[in-house]
């Protein structure tokens, strides 16, 4: 079928975006064991930062990307430092942290709407996109960058977690934070850094989404949900699981609507989540 290469490309691109979001989400979940819903708004802030620096202030795009990624990372670090850490010191439960992260999500979304308006914003000035033909399918330059970025960030993260002292400390916290403390790991400092890295990846994902489709203050929730679904079906807290889950979700979503209307796309995604929650609640990679 002529359509198959195009659907594969669509699935890969969708999967790569979900994977970038779930990478950061899983990294943070692994260290903190709570669902950081504010992760969704960090994605949005990454996108709006690039809009501000590149489109409004006319900064060089590469410099704009670096600054936006750093801003997203700092935001994540500050959230941990000034919201989650004080709550954890007060022995707040994970439910309290989740509610706090939801509050942050909603508040920051409102602030973005006030500053930039609720209007859809396109990062590209005109409708021009460099498009490549690939086995009868089409892929844009931005989508190729999304795929390459995922490979590089994924590999970088795996190397960071497995080949460095920092990575070993993160994995120790993932296994048991209390034991990590006992053996002398400064857990709060490491978790702060994890928030910085996870949020920087989320911000970068927001930039890519902005260039691929466009920006809206409300886009964070749907992206976060897809990232969370990918994490759950892949194995929450697992980097490999997140990537696997994201691509599974991308493929099921796109191939699922091959014979039925596209309006069912989200229903298929959540249906997949429910199936996993019932039959394999700990995901593909049973961590």
């Amino acid at each position: 079928m002529d359509i198959i290469p195009q659907i594969i490309i669509n699935s890969l691109v969708a999967g790569a975006i979900y994977a970038l979001i779930s990478l950061g989400f899983n990294l943070i979940y692994g260290a903190t064991k709570f669902f950081n819903l504010a992760h969704g708004i960090v994605v949005v802030i990454g996108g709006y930062s690039i809009l501000c620096f590149v489109k409004f202030l006319g900064l060089n795009i590469y410099l704009g990307v670096v600054i936006s990624v750093i801003i997203s990372g700092i935001l994540g670090y500050c959230l941990d430092r000034f919201v989650y850490l004080p709550l954890k010191r007060k022995k707040a439960s994970n439910m309290v942290l989740l509610v706090a992260s939801l509050g942050i999500f909603t508040a920051l979304q409102g602030i973005i709407s006030i500053i930039f308006s609720s209007q859809f914003q396109s990062l590209s000035e005109n409708s021009e996109q460099v498009v490549f033909s690939f086995f009868n399918g089409f892929i844009t330059e931005t989508q190729i960058i999304i795929l390459i970025s995922l490979v590089l960030i994924g590999l970088g993260l795996i190397l960071l977690l497995h080949k460095t002292q920092f990575g070993r400390e993160v994995r120790a916290i993932n296994d048991d934070e209390e034991v990590a403390k006992i053996i002398g790991i400064h857990t709060n400092k490491i978790i702060g850094r994890v928030f910085f890295i996870g949020s920087a990846i989320a911000g970068y994902a927001g930039i890519l989404v902005g260039y691929d489709t466009g920006l809206e203050p409300t886009m964070g929730l749907s992206l976060l949900l897809k990232g969370v679904i990918a994490s759950i079906i892949g194995g929450v807290g697992s980097i490999y699981g997140g990537i696997l889950g994201a691509f599974l979700l991308g493929f099921v979503e796109n191939f699922g609507i091959l014979k039925i209307s596209g309006g069912w796309k989200d229903a298929i995604a959540f249906g997949l989540l429910i199936i996993f929650l019932i039959f394999r609640p700990r995901g593909i990679i049973n961590k």
């Binding site: 359509i3 195009q6 989200d266």
Partner: protein, 380 residues
């Protein structure tokens, strides 16, 4: 003991008297010189803010004109602008609050058929009435005895599309639509008009908020349709669909677009290459000296021309119609309803009267052709 009972009885009497006095004062408020309030449900943010913003500005001019001319029976008219964000849930919540808490009975609205469809069941037993502008879905015809629309049903637009499709001799067409009352309604009307024509229709949909419709478009491309009809609910989703049409090389297919795209001048110029030769439909209102005079007030007040002259004219007339109705029948739903049912009003958008389903009479759509990033009337 007796004294205690007496004190309690006295307190109860005082409370009852105070309550009656307060209620009396409150009732009297209706006859005071307090402003008459109308709630305007406009899309001030979101994908159709480009309609809501000029609508609000024009409504402010209408209110100023009415109040400068003495108001409504010596009372000022006041509009409470509320943002429905093109979201039926939001519209329902605002409507309920205005109805129950603020005791507002008269409403006006702009755009998003789904919002009117959601609030219409809340209007019953003469508790509220709504006069909408640019609400087009066919299903709104006669949806409630208390809903009037100063606009035409987009069934007329679908009819024009169907005739043009038949004339061009297409055998297989594609439709991509958003799952909303308006956007899906157009697709359903088009299907109805093409029912016995033998033309095959390949339909694909997406839910509001979707940012990826590539697989749906790929399926349409695979079906090798001769024409693709694009029916988004908002300018935002129109932007996403057009961008992805271009990415997938579907722009070589003949395109038909709904009135939301035709009205979105920025979008038409941004995707000039994709939309070159595309056919669209829209409802055009009459424009004469009277219209120009009011539109000049907009320019004077805001320093720019109204970007949506149809909407500006329609909203100006809707506010004036409601003001005239209240002036004539009082702030009473049954009275305003009977006034609108029999009105023959000379507005800036033309002569306004309503048919038995409360749609604006003699409101005809026209076809447009997009050429060099601009929509112009299509002379078939």
């Amino acid at each position: 003991m007796k004294q205690k009972k007496f004190i309690i009885l006295a307190i109860v009497i005082i409370i009852i008297v105070a309550f009656i006095g307060f209620s009396f004062k409150k009732t009297n408020k209706n006859y005071s010189n307090e402003p008459i309030k109308i709630v305007a449900l406009f899309p001030l943010t979101g994908g159709l803010a480009s309609y809501g913003e000029p609508a609000q500005k024009m409504a402010q001019i209408a209110v100023k004109d009415i109040n400068d001319a003495g108001g409504i029976n010596n009372r000022k008219l006041e509009i409470d602008y509320q943002d429905h964000k093109c979201d039926p849930k939001e519209a329902t919540s605002i409507f309920q609050q205005a109805l129950d808490v603020n005791k507002v009975k008269i409403f006006t609205s702009v755009a998003c058929s789904g919002t009117v469809s959601a609030v219409s069941p809340l209007m019953k037993n003469d508790n509220a009435l709504l006069l909408g502008t640019i609400i087009t879905a066919n299903k709104l015809s006669g949806i409630s005895p208390y809903v009037f629309r100063n606009w035409a049903s987009d069934k007329n637009e679908a009819k024009l599309f169907a005739d043009e499709i038949k004339k061009r001799g297409y055998k297989k067409i594609g439709v991509i639509y958003e799952e909303t009352d308006y956007a899906k309604g157009l697709k359903l009307s088009l299907e109805e008009f093409l029912k016995d024509s033998g033309i095959e229709i390949v339909s694909e949909s997406f839910v509001s908020g979707s940012t990826d419709v590539r697989t749906q478009l790929s399926k349409i491309k695979q079906a090798k349709v001769e024409m693709l009809f694009i029916s988004p609910q908002t300018v935002t989703s129109g932007d996403i669909v057009l961008k992805q049409i271009k990415e997938l090389g579907l722009n070589k297919t003949a395109l038909f677009v709904n009135d939301n795209i035709i009205k979105a001048k920025d979008l038409v110029s941004k995707y000039a290459d994709v939309l070159e030769g595309a056919i669209g439909g829209d409802y055009i209102m009459k424009r004469d000296e009277k219209t120009d005079k009011i539109l000049a007030k907009y320019r004077e007040a805001y320093g720019v021309d109204c970007p949506q002259t149809n909407i500006c004219s329609g909203v100006y007339d809707a506010i004036n119609l409601l003001a005239d109705a209240i002036k004539s029948k009082g702030y009473d739903v049954a009275g305003v309803k009977s006034y609108l049912e029999s009105v023959d009003y000379a507005g800036i958008s033309g002569q306004i009267s309503f048919d038995e389903k409360h749609d604006r009479k003699n409101a005809d759509y026209s076809l447009f052709l997009i050429k060099n990033g601009k929509a112009e009337l299509y002379n078939q």
